[in-house]
Amino acid sequence: MTDLSVDLGFLQLKNPVLTASGTFGYGVEFTPFVDLNELGGFVVKGLYFHPRPGNPPPRLVETASGLINAIGLQGIGVKRFSEEILPRLKDFDTALIVNVCGNEDEEYAAVTEYLDKQEGIAAYELNISCPNTKRDGRCPALSPDTTHAVVSLVKKTSKRPVITKLSPNVTDITEIALAAQEGGSDGLALANTFLAMAIDVETRTPRPANVFGGLSGPAIKPLTLRMVYQVAQRVQIPIVGIGGIVSGNDALEYMIAGASAIEVGTANFVDPESTKNIIRDLEAYCRKNGIQSIEQIIGTLKV
């Protein structure tokens, strides 16, 4: 019998498969395809304090094995989330992680303080890395100082563990990771999308309409995998690997590189049953290789 459970220290997961914020709605959208109880957990769409309209369409552009999105974190805000969505999620036996956003550091703290009063949430994922909310893609995760500031502010009040989601759009992601760790982050999620663009040559207009968007999907997997490996060498807190995972093999690569868990993102659109197929693949890999606990493979890259 294979044990797929992983212990992040601050959070016990029944398996390492989570879903990436923004690709799994509020979870309820996927119930026709996936029994949410089977997941290690799921990360719901980013929440600001107030509802947000997001960016003008077109918001999506497909590129080679990738997807550029500029949704702009359209969302319903903490109040509606707590009143309308949370009650529908509370009976699922899996870790619900809420992706927390903010225009200023104080807004992040206001969101977690509001959500601290609600039941049924296992942890927060601090989204300090969305490239879409300001036109030039700037966000706290672009510098160690701003990362440290927002993480430590949220950690001062948060009653729940905090996973900080970093941006790959930096020169040295290990510096940012260390800053998040010093700020008190319980874990790290690596990484958000790569700032990207495409151009319609007939109209000479940018795609998406926002000019820049975030690139996700299989196209970015080798890049974020490298970052997970680099960061795993430097930090002590657990890492959640994200970026282009579509198969059990992809998930295993991230775990061998040092991730304790992974998030499935764009693959949820390609095949909304991806998460359960990946869990099945992980189980088959462990069985085939005589691995009793999947935790045994974390950070085992032979260099």
């Binding site: 959208e29 996927f30 997001g54 369409p57 918001r59 659109f269």
Partner: protein
């Protein structure tokens, strides 16, 4: 909503860029209503990555038909699928055309431009079941863009054809013919699907004649079932905070809700 990862293709017909595929998908066929769509994977690999939203063209005895134009990389790949191969589809998705018993015995106008004819065939059949009297206006740039005309004619639907270049039917745009025909034709409702500019003209005519009209909108979609928020469009009753998802609230909308792209600018 069902996922059918192995829907067997049982027939295929192509006319130039246009392709009609029929595949076996019992549960989708049973639930589908006119105006709904499926999300289909164009190929088996990771490029192109996303599924494509395609209107349901007809359903009969567990077989779903889609009719599409091979326009981009995804639909071109989809057009290479052959009989006895499989499609990976999710559906039926979205909300369809609004049909009710009040249409019984009434004339109804169905206006399709190019590939926009796709959902109107299914709709025409449902209207016939409701004992409404559908009249189809079907236009394209040339004779090559209106290949489904024979299908409607063989099934004795009333159909009016136009081509921009006059290579078949009346010369001109389908909206012009429709406008003129209203001198002695009073449909109780209009259903339209086609290029945005065509639908906008239909909308203007509907407003002028005070006829209720519904339009099936196109959008680039990530998931097709409301999770990605990629296909939104600002509609008239939308607040600043919340735009409508074409996939979930549409793709069919009443004319009075739509802000046409030209008006936006």
């Amino acid at each position: 909503m069902h996922k059918e990862p192995k829907a067997l293709i049982i027939h295929k017909t192509t006319w130039g860029d246009y392709c009609l595929l029929g595949f076996r998908a019992e549960r989708i066929a049973t639930e589908a209503r006119p105006g709904q769509f499926i999300m289909v994977r164009p190929g088996d690999n990771l490029h192109p990555l996303l599924r494509r939203p395609i209107s349901i063209h007809s359903v009969l005895d567990g077989v779903v038909e889609i009719y599409f134009q091979q326009a981009g990389i995804g639909t071109k790949l989809l057009g290479q699928k052959e009989k006895n191969e499989y499609l990976d589809v999710i559906g039926p998705l979205g909300k369809g055309f609004h049909l009710d018993d009040s249409l019984q015995g009434k004339s109804v106008a169905l206006i399709g431009g190019g590939r926009g004819i796709a959902p109107l065939y299914f709709l025409a059949h449902k209207l016939r079941d409701l004992e409404a009297l559908p009249r189809i206006y079907y236009g394209g740039r040339t004779i090559n863009d209106i290949p489904l005309r024979k299908k409607f004619e063989e099934e004795e639907f009333e159909i009016l054809l136009t081509t921009d270049d006059g290579s078949f039917g009346s010369k001109g745009q389908v909206t012009d013919l429709f406008h003129v025909s209203l001198q002695d034709f009073s449909p109780a409702r209009i259903f339209a699907c086609g290029p945005e500019a065509m639908m906008q003209k239909v909308s203007r005519i509907a407003l002028e004649k005070n006829i209720a009209a519904e339009f099936s909108l196109e959008a680039i979609m990530g998931c097709g079932f409301g999770a990605c928020w990629g296909c939104v469009r600002k509609l008239k009753n939308d607040t600043q905070e919340e735009w409508s998802k074409i996939c979930e609230e549409g793709p069919v909308f009443p004319g009075e809700k739509i802000i046409w792209q030209e008006e936006e600018q």
